[in-house]
C-alpha cells in the first residue's frame, strides 16, 4: 500500500548531505544509518501495510546524543520521528520521508528500582515486561500489560498511553506513570511530573501520555510499581450467544464488582486461538468471557463466588475457575495470543480499536457480523469487555486485488459506529496515520483546530512526528464531504444501524 496519508503531504526541504555531515559530528559512525538496505528494517511499525524509508536513521546511545540530534534537526527544520520497539499498531512510528527516524532502542537501562517508594526509573527503550521482572524480587510489578508486553517499550507505552487486559482495575499507562523526562524539539530538557504524586501548574504529565511523539521526545520515565496481589483467579464462562455474553458484562458491573480483568472473545477468535495454544476454551461457545479476581485469598473467594452467581444468572452454558497459577496463565495465554493466532489464519489482518459503552457490546458484535458479510471478509473479535474496548481483527489478503481496500472500508464503518454509539475511534492503539482521517468523525473542525494550537504550544514548526495524530483542517473538510457523499448510497444505508 502506498502512503496516501497525511504524512506524505507534509513535505520539508532538507539538504540530506548537509544533515548527515552535521549529525556525523555529534554521533559515533555506527549510530547513523544512511544506506537504503540498512534503513529498510525501520520502514514501518506494527502497521505493516504502510511502509516508508526515512531520510536517515539515528541510534543515540544516551540522552545527550538524542539532545544533539534534536538541536541539529531544530536548527535545520528537519522532522523527527521517535521509535521504540515499533510494535505500535497505528503507524505512530512510521518514518517521515524527509526526516530523521530516531530509534531509542539503545536507551534500555533500568536506572533504579526502589521497593520502598514503589517506583522504577527506566529509559524509554526498556521493555514493558522487564520492568515487572526487575520488580518481581520485591513482590511488585508494573500494572499496564499490553498484549505486546514482551516486546513493547515503556517509551512507546507512554507515547500511546498503552492499555492492556487489567485496565479496568489498575488503569492505563497515564495512571501508572509519575514522571516523564524528555527533550523539547528545541533540544531542551523538560520534566513532566516528579517523584511526588502531583506537580505544580498544568497537568502536562497527563498530556504527554498518549501524545504519540508529537509534543516531546521521551528519554526517561518514572513508573509506579504495584504490590503483587496474594492471589489471582480467573473464571471462564461460555455463552451460547453473544448478546448474553455482552449483557453478562453489564450485570457484573451492576453487581458492584470491578474485576481485575474482563475479556470477551467470539467464536472466530476462540477457533483461531484454541488449536494454536490449547488454552482449554469451549469450542462450541459463541462467546466466552474471562473474568479475573485478585486480592487476598478471602477477597478472591468471596468475589469469585459473586462473579459465578452473576454469570450463571446471565445464562452461561459452562463455567470454569482456574485451580492454580499455571491454569490461570494458560487461560490468559489464549487471550494474549489472539493476534498472532489470527495471524496464522490469514495472510494479513487489520486490527480495529474502537471503544464503546459496555451496554452496546452485543449490538456492535451483531453489526460487525453484518459488515463481515457485506465486505465478504472474515472478522474475529476480541474485546476488553470491561472497558468497552473492541479489537475486531479483519482478515484479508493484500495480494488479492481489492481486499485491502475492502478491509479498510470495513474498518472505517466499525469506527464510525463506535463514534455513533457514544464511543471513540481508538481506545489504546492511538491514531497515528491509520486513523488520522477518521478523527473528523469524532471531532469538529474547531476541536481539531484546538489540537493544532496545542501542538504549536510545544512544537511551533511542527517538526515532531508530522502528519500523525491530528488531521489537517483541509483533510477534515475533504473527509466530511466524502462521507456526506457516500452516506446517500443505498449500500451503506443497508448495513449501518440507524440511531
Amino acid at each position: 500500500m502506498s502512503i496516501e496519508s497525511s504524512v506524505a503531504e507534509q513535505r520539508f526541504t532538507v539538504d540530506r548531505l548537509a544533515l548527515v555531515e552535521r549529525l556525523r559530528a555529534v554521533l559515533p559512525a555506527q549510530a547513523l544509518l544512511v544506506e537504503e538496505e540498512e534503513m529498510r528494517p525501520y520502514d514501518c511499525d506494527g502497521l505493516t501495510a504502510y511502509r516508508q524509508l526515512p531520510l536517515i536513521v539515528a541510534l543515540p546511545a544516551d540522552e545527550a546524543q538524542a539532545q544533539a540530534i534534536l538541536k541539529i534537526c531544530y536548527e535545520l527544520k528537519v522532522p523527527v520521528v521517535a521509535r521504540g520497539a515499533a510494535t505500535g499498531l497505528s503507524g505512530g512510528a512510521t518514518p517521515h520521508r524527509d526526516g530523521v527516524l530516531v530509534s531509542l532502542a539503545k536507551l534500555k537501562k533500568i536506572i533504579s528500582v526502589d521497593p520502598l517508594s514503589r517506583t522504577a526509573v527506566v529509559q524509554p527503550g526498556v521493555r514493558n515486561l522487564s520492568v515487572s521482572e526487575a520488580a518481581a524480587p520485591y513482590a511488585l510489578y508494573y500494572a499496564p500489560d499490553p498484549s505486546s508486553q514482551i516486546a513493547c517499550t515503556i517509551g512507546g507505552n507512554v507515547a500511546e498511553n498503552a492499555g492492556g487486559v487489567h485496565c479496568l482495575k489498575y488503569g492505563l499507562t497515564v495512571h501508572n506513570v509519575m514522571r516523564v523526562r524528555g527533550l523539547s524539539i528545541e533540544g531542551e530538557i523538560v520534566e513532566f511530573g516528579n517523584a511526588a504524586l502531583d506537580a505544580p501548574g498544568y497537568d502536562l504529565l497527563a498530556l504527554i501520555n498518549g501524545s504519540e511523539g508529537l509534543l516531546a521526545m521521551i528519554t526517561e520515565v518514572t513508573v509506579k510499581l504495584t504490590p503483587k496481589p496474594e492471589l489471582a483467579q480467573v473464571v471462564i464462562a461460555s455463552f451460547g450467544n453473544v448478546r448474553q455474553a455482552g449483557d453478562a458484562v453489564a450485570s457484573i458491573i451492576a453487581a458492584g464488582i470491578i474485576p481485575a480483568g474482563l475479556e470477551m472473545m467470539d467464536k472466530k477468535a476462540i477457533h483461531a486461538v484454541e488449536p494454536y495454544v490449547n488454552a482449554g476454551y469451549d469450542m462450541d461457545a459463541e462467546a466466552i468471557l474471562l473474568c479475573e479476581s485478585d486480592g487476598t485469598p478471602e477477597e478472591v473467594a468471596e468475589e469469585i463466588a459473586r462473579m459465578t452467581a452473576v454469570l450463571e444468572k446471565s445464562g452461561a452454558a459452562g463455567i470454569r475457575v482456574s485451580q492454580d497459577e499455571a491454569e490461570r496463565l494458560k487461560f490468559w495465554a489464549g487471550r494474549k495470543a489472539a493476534f498472532p493466532a489470527v495471524g496464522r489464519m490469514t495472510p494479513d489482518y487489520l486490527c480495529m480499536d474502537g471503544t464503546i459503552p459496555r451496554k452496546r457490546l452485543a449490538e456492535m458484535l451483531e453489526a460487525i457480523n453484518r459488515l463481515s458479510e457485506k465486505y465478504a471478509l472474515r472478522c474475529a473479535n476480541v474485546f476488553h469487555a470491561g472497558d468497552g474496548n473492541l479489537h475486531p481483527l479483519i482478515m484479508y489478503d493484500a495480494n488479492q486485488p481489492g481486499e485491502l481496500e475492502r478491509a479498510v472500508a470495513f474498518g472505517a464503518e466499525i469506527l464510525e459506529l463506535s463514534v455513533r454509539f457514544g464511543g471513540t475511534i481508538t481506545g489504546e492503539h492511538g491514531v497515528g496515520i491509520e486513523k488520522v482521517d477518521v478523527m473528523a468523525e469524532q471531532f469538529s473542525l474547531a476541536e481539531i483546530a484546538a489540537f493544532h494550537r496545542l501542538k504549536t504550544a510545544f512544537d511551533e514548526h511542527g517538526l515532531l512526528n508530522p502528519g500523525k495524530g491530528v488531521p489537517t483542517l483541509a483533510r477534515c473538510r475533504e473527509y466530511t464531504l466524502a462521507r456526506a457523499g457516500s452516506a446517500g448510497s443505498a449500500d451503506s444505508a443497508d448495513t449501518s444501524p440507524r440511531l
Partner: protein
C-alpha cells in the same frame, strides 16, 4: 439552560474586545485557593445556574454533570446506586460545585490508594477564550483519540476556559471500612507507611500527627480482618473514624484552625521528616504533608530538595503576593504554560493570574 451559554459567549467576546477579564465563579467554596485574580477589570462570571446531571448510568460507571451541579447533589445521586467519586474530593463548604472541584483538581484522603481526581476524568466540554464550545475525551474508560485535553483542564483553575460539563468515572462504594491507631513517631510512621505500601494491604488512607498514626482500611470484610491481624493497632469506633476522615477531607480538623498560613508539601512518600518549624500533619502515606508556618522561602527550598513542591494553600492575600501560591516552574515549562494559555485563551480572558502571574 443553553441560553446561558449564549450569554457567556457574548460576555467573553466583550471582555476579549476591551482587554478585560472574567473571574469564573461556581459556589465560591474554593475562593481561598490559588492567587487573588489580577486586573481591576475582572468581572464575575457566575456559572452556578448551569447545573444538573446530564447522564448517569451505573453499569457504565460514568457520570456526566454540568459545571454548576452542587457536589452534594452529585454525591447523593451516586450514593443511591451504591457508587461514588472514590478520590474523595474536598467540598470546602455546602456550595461546592462539580466545576469548582474539577478546576481545583484536589483529592481527599483516599488519593494514596485510588488515584487523584485527574485519574477519574473521562471527558470535558469547554467554552474557550474564542467563545467556541469544544468537547474532549468522552464517556468511555479508554480513549486515546486526540490529546488528553480533559485531564489537562483538571486542576487548571479555570485559566484555560470555562468548563461546561465533565464526565467522570465512578466506582462502587467500599463494602466495609475499619480504622486503626498506632502510637508512633514521625520517622517510624513514614518508614512503616512506605513498607506497608509495598504490600497488598487494603490501606485506603493514612494520617500522622503528634505521635499518632491513623490508618483506614477499605474492602471486603474478610480482607479487613486479615489486615488487622497483620497490622495490629487499636481500632477506632466507626462513628469516630468517619468524623475523623471527614475532618481531614474538609479541613475542619483542629490542625487547620486558626490564622497561621497552611502550606501543602507534595513530596515523595519516602522523603524523611522535614526539619521545618511549625506543626505538621502527614497524609497519603507520606506524600502529602501539611505545615502551619510562615517561612515560605525555607519551605519551598526544602520541598524542592526532597523532590517535590510546596503550595501556599491558605493564607491572606499579602502573604500570597509575597510568596506566590505555587512553586515556580522551570523556564521551559513556564514557556509551555504560557503557550498553552495562549492556545486556549488568546486574549487572557479567564481567571487571569489565578495560578501564576501572567497566566
Amino acid at each position: 439552560m443553553e441560553e446561558l451559554i449564549d450569554d457567556w459567549m457574548a460576555r467573553i467576546a466583550d471582555a476579549a474586545r476591551v482587554g478585560g477579564s472574567l473571574a469564573i465563579r461556581g459556589g465560591g467554596s474554593k475562593l481561598f485557593y490559588g492567587c487573588p485574580e489580577q486586573g481591576e477589570k475582572a468581572d464575575l462570571l457566575e456559572v452556578g445556574g448551569y447545573r444538573g446531571i446530564v447522564a448517569y448510568e451505573p453499569t457504565e460507571l460514568v457520570v456526566t454533570a454540568r459545571t454548576g451541579t452542587p457536589l452534594r447533589e452529585l454525591a447523593a445521586t451516586l450514593a443511591e446506586k451504591g457508587q461514588w467519586l472514590p478520590f474523595e474530593p474536598p467540598h470546602f463548604g455546602p456550595a461546592a460545585t462539580v466545576g469548582g472541584m474539577f478546576a481545583a483538581g484536589l483529592s481527599g484522603p483516599r488519593r494514596q490508594a485510588v488515584g487523584a481526581l485527574r485519574d477519574y476524568v473521562l471527558g470535558a466540554k469547554l467554552l474557550n477564550g474564542s467563545g467556541e464550545v469544544l468537547s474532549f475525551g468522552g464517556q468511555v474508560m479508554k480513549n486515546v483519540a486526540g490529546y488528553d485535553v480533559s485531564r489537562l483542564l483538571a486542576g487548571s483553575l479555570g485559566t484555560l476556559g470555562l468548563v461546561l460539563e465533565v464526565s467522570l468515572k465512578v466506582l462502587p462504594l467500599p463494602v466495609a471500612e475499619k480504622s486503626l491507631r498506632f502510637a508512633i513517631d514521625e520517622g517510624e510512621a513514614l518508614r512503616k507507611l512506605n513498607e506497608w505500601g509495598g504490600r497488598p494491604l487494603p490501606i485506603s488512607a493514612s494520617a500522622w500527627q503528634d505521635g499518632v498514626l491513623t490508618l483506614r482500611l477499605s474492602g471486603a470484610a474478610a480482607a479487613l480482618a486479615a489486615a488487622q491481624r497483620h497490622l495490629g493497632g487499636e481500632e477506632l469506633g466507626d462513628g469516630l473514624a468517619a468524623e475523623f476522615w471527614q475532618s481531614l477531607r474538609e479541613q475542619t480538623h483542629a490542625f487547620f484552625a486558626g490564622e497561621a498560613p497552611v502550606w501543602r508539601l507534595s513530596l515523595p512518600s519516602v522523603a524523611p521528616p522535614q526539619a521545618l518549624p511549625g506543626p505538621t500533619l502527614i497524609e497519603w502515606g507520606g506524600a502529602q504533608r501539611w505545615l502551619r508556618a510562615g517561612d515560605g522561602g525555607a519551605i519551598r527550598v526544602a520541598a524542592a530538595k526532597a523532590g517535590g513542591h510546596a503550595t501556599l494553600f491558605r493564607a491572606d492575600d499579602a502573604l500570597k503576593a509575597a510568596q506566590g501560591v505555587f512553586q515556580l516552574l522551570s523556564p521551559p515549562l513556564l514557556r509551555i504554560h504560557r503557550n498553552l494559555k495562549h492556545a486556549f485563551d488568546p486574549q487572557g480572558v479567564f481567571n487571569r493570574g489565578r495560578m501564576y502571574p501572567g497566566l
